[in-house]
């Protein structure tokens, strides 16, 4: 999966979570600015579980700071890409 594909998949998963369609235009926009009601602290945890389920990765809340990594589609996509890369290197790719 390439970076753009990953970001598209993140965008699709978040669209489902938030209940409305996200587009490329808002990839850099903080998700809390897009939907403060849905992307509250519980919504962030929903998002963590959704990314783990969608990409078969594990988020470690000690190493993977939620405030910076789960800020926008772009930052989440970058985190997922790093996790997938690490899994490939370690031979853990699902």
């Amino acid at each position: 999966m390439g970076t753009e594909e990953t970001r598209e998949a993140v965008r699709a998963a978040l669209s489902t979570l938030l209940g409305h369609e996200l587009t490329e235009d808002t990839d850099e926009t903080p998700l809390i600015e897009i939907d403060a009601d849905r992307y509250d602290s519980l919504g962030v945890l929903d998002c963590v579980a959704a990314m783990e389920g969608r990409f078969g990765i594990s988020i470690d809340l000690i190493d993977d700071d939620l405030v910076t990594n789960f800020r926008s589609v772009s930052t989440i996509g970058a985190l997922v890409e790093r996790k997938l890369h690490d899994a490939r290197v370690l031979g853990l790719t699902p």
Binding site: T16, G19, D37, R38, D40, S41, L42, V44, L45, D46, V48, A49, S58, I59, D60, L61, I62, L66, V67
Partner: protein, 306 residues
Amino acid sequence: MTAVRFATSGTTGSPVAWLRGEDQLVAETRLLAGLLGGSPDGTDLDAICTHAPVGHLYGHLLGHRLPALLDVPVRQVPVTEPFDVSGARHPLLVTLPASFSVLARSLSTLDQCARVTIVFSSAAIPPLAHPVVAALGDRARLVELFGSTETGLVATRVFPTSDWTLAPDVRFVPRLLAARAGRLAIESPRLAARNSWPAPAEITLDDEVTVVGANTFRWHGRAGRLVKVNGRRLNLDAVRATLSAAAPDAAVRCVPEPDQVRGEWFTVTVDSADPATLRAVDRAVATLPAWQRPRAVQQTTAARIS
């Protein structure tokens, strides 16, 4: 006697103020200290780490009064962050439903702890709680509290026990003892007063139970259509009425479901193939207070096929 005011949202969103006397709060804190303050092997708590806001009764008792009574430090962090157990050998973790999502992804923070006591209140415990406790093995003790802002602590159970044991100063009302089953009705010296009314001596709750012993009961669910979303009681019939008013020709249902982050949540299903009807329901959902909104609005299968 001074009183402390706690507000709840009410099942339909209207706030309700509950007054708890200082004597009630002191008594309840002592009960909690007896329940949580030590462990069978004598390892006393040395820190209280909490996700619970102190403005609510549960957070106030466990994050403010209990640490003062036990003379242990308290560390509060937002619910999205791992508990701060630095230096503690036997912390008490005061959890919310979402805490187990965090614990499951930060278990290594507890490596230093010889024992971990986890206390949970407020709602159906999320499915993640049990694997978290299992991963901690013999070091962990999970204590569940049954109660609410208006009742205070009613009963407790220690995982994996399934039945609840009444708190030492709580009793079943005689009619429930005689019937053996029905709505949970109790007498307690720690019931809250509503606004300026005197505190009642007994209360009948929304919970359906079977009495299984002089002071134990089995919980079967809530009467009516109440769910607890992140510990806040929500009447699904009221939500459905609001949404149905926006789509009078469609069958609208609120389907409760377990949730790893909120304990319980619900999905709205709409039995209509008309896009305008679905949009009307979406618009009505948007008018609800944020915490009352569903996980999703879904068109039912039958409507999609037609």
